[in-house]
Symmetry: C2
Subunit: 242 residues, 2 copies
């Protein structure tokens, strides 16, 4: 059975590299689209302003570019970079830490906008799932740091923990993509209730950005589970005491 799986390379010889490159391209497209939306259509970004909408605009930019895109690169870096395992581990955890901090600042911007505009907090599914996601992301980061980096668990425990680290990490990542989708829908619905035309350029731009983010998420997940080197299809699951 296991020989048969190896023989077909898990996913029929498909290699992760192509999906990793596609992820970089989709990430660049998503970053450009969210900047066009928030700067060109929504008037720009500001942390302090009498125009409170500019404070809100910090939220989608930081959540998409800071949290999801840097988080995507953090996930892929561990398999894709040509460095030693120890260096890749360091890059993986630093990129995830940056994503976590930028995500937290982005969430702060949403609360700041609400509070300064008299809008209620934490009633929507987007806010529930979004906050849940960043909490789980932080727990995953701390658990990964302690288990795999410092002080590091026993080899036996690391072997047990690694597939769960990958599975739970992908679960949290998919939740993050889902929370972003909810955010695009929620904000666009608010704007349409305030008069934005349903089939306007801006509405299409936001929906297309949301679609690009779904494709990004799918490519990142596939580039994590597909074999990387054909001759060693499950290399990244190897655990050692180094």
């Amino acid at each position: 059975m296991s020989e048969r799986r190896e023989e077909m390379g898990g996913l029929a010889g498909v290699r992760a590299e192509g999906f990793t490159f596609a992820s970089h391209a989709l990430a660049a497209a998503a970053a450009a689209l969210v900047l066009v939306w928030c700067i060109h259509f929504r008037g720009g970004l500001a942390f302090e302003s009498t125009n409170k909408s500019l404070i809100f605009n910090v939220h989608p930019v930081l959540m998409l570019i800071g949290f999801i895109i840097i988080g995507s690169e953090a996930i892929m870096s561990y398999r894709a970079l040509p460095f030693s395992k120890e260096v890749k581990k360091l890059i993986h955890l630093i990129l995830h830490a940056i994503a976590l901090v930028l995500g937290a600042v982005g969430i702060y911007a949403a609360f700041k906008y609400h509070n300064e505009s008299g809008i209620a907090n934490l009633y929507s599914l987007h806010s529930w799932i979004g906050l849940g996601t960043i909490c789980l992301y932080g727990i995953q980061w701390i658990f990964g740091f302690v288990t795999f980096f410092y002080p590091g668990a026993s080899l036996a425990f690391k072997r047990v923990a690694l597939p769960w680290h990958v599975l739970f990490g992908l679960f949290v990542y998919i939740l993050a993509v889902g929370a972003a989708e909810l955010g695009f829908l929620e904000k666009l619905t608010f704007l349409e209730n305030s008069g934005l035309a349903k089939y306007s350029s801006e509405a299409f731009l936001v929906n297309f950005t949301a679609l690009v983010v779904i494709f990004l998420g799918a490519c990142v997940v596939i580039s994590t589970i597909a074999p990387y080197h054909v001759e060693d299809p499950h290399d990244y699951t190897a655990v050692s005491d180094d």
Copy 2:
């Protein structure tokens, strides 16, 4: 390497059975919650009515109970049932066909509500992702039928196709769960814009239903990828000419 994976049973000896049972329980809870919402809070279901909201109510009920829950059972049935492979294959494809038909009727109800109420169609992210999902679901069903059931592909092709069938099937299933989340958020936002209190019982009921659906989705995915029998962790990936 592959011995090491077998040794730890993929996910450290965790078996799919527990997640399959949890999925049944979460599916029952989600079904009860959406019925309470649409019947108790929203006045009931009807295909023909002067109260157009009753036509809308058919949509969440059929999409959740018909499409997602029956689809979940269809996914799990192939691994969980104690029958021969040929019988399980038949149950798997029949349940997915029922889910597809009920999903199509549910989407028809949404269009009927829109058209009879003068509401625009197909402008929202929910509608885009939802329609995309059911199209991909249909393509996946036809491809699976032709490859694995009738006329059936060569053993070599089935071996190549099976991991893609599982991967693409899970992708479409996760999209379906995501589309449901978008639907809960969108409908609740419309209701709140029409006067429903943001922290009302109904708002909490809808958001909790959405959370139950996420947990259901996670359990179904894990019950699909976790090993089923400890002594044969990847049994379901076996392909034969029977």
